[in-house]
């Protein structure tokens, strides 16, 4: 996962969808970056549940939160480097 981070640092190297996501996050005020990312992760988790990927469910959900955790750094969001989500416990509310 770390190497994912390396080649996504510069805006010119980012895949278009990730660049769009970074643009969305740059619109947020720093205080709301993690709460809104948590909301987005929750929405994706529900979507995955509805799609019924039972056999890999835990792995996929874990990957959602792992990716979301590092998005602020991947997107170079000022003042926010990581969002400390715990996928199973209700994480710290912001």
């Amino acid at each position: 996962f770390e190497d994912d981070m390396e080649n996504q640092q510069g805006p010119q190297q980012r895949p278009p969808l990730l660049q769009q996501c970074c643009n969305e996050l740059h619109q947020e005020e720093a205080l709301c970056v993690c709460p809104t990312l948590k909301g987005a992760s929750k929405a994706v988790r529900q979507q995955v549940r509805q799609q019924g990927h039972q056999q890999q469910m835990q792995h996929v959900i874990s990957r959602i939160y792992q990716t979301a955790t590092h998005l602020p750094r991947v997107c170079n969001i000022p003042q926010v480097s990581v969002c400390p989500f715990q996928k199973t416990m209700p994480g710290p509310s912001y």
């Binding site: 969305e24 996050l25 005020e29 205080l31 990312l37 994706v44 990927h53 979301a68």
Partner: protein
Amino acid sequence: QAGPFRIPRCRKEFRQAQHLRACQQWLHRQAMQSGSG
């Protein structure tokens, strides 16, 4: 259940950002890619 939006204006920002649609698609893609091995 303590939701992610204890700061009310963050909920508003989330809605205004169309729920971070592109980020949701990115998270979904990354999760499913890794899930398929």
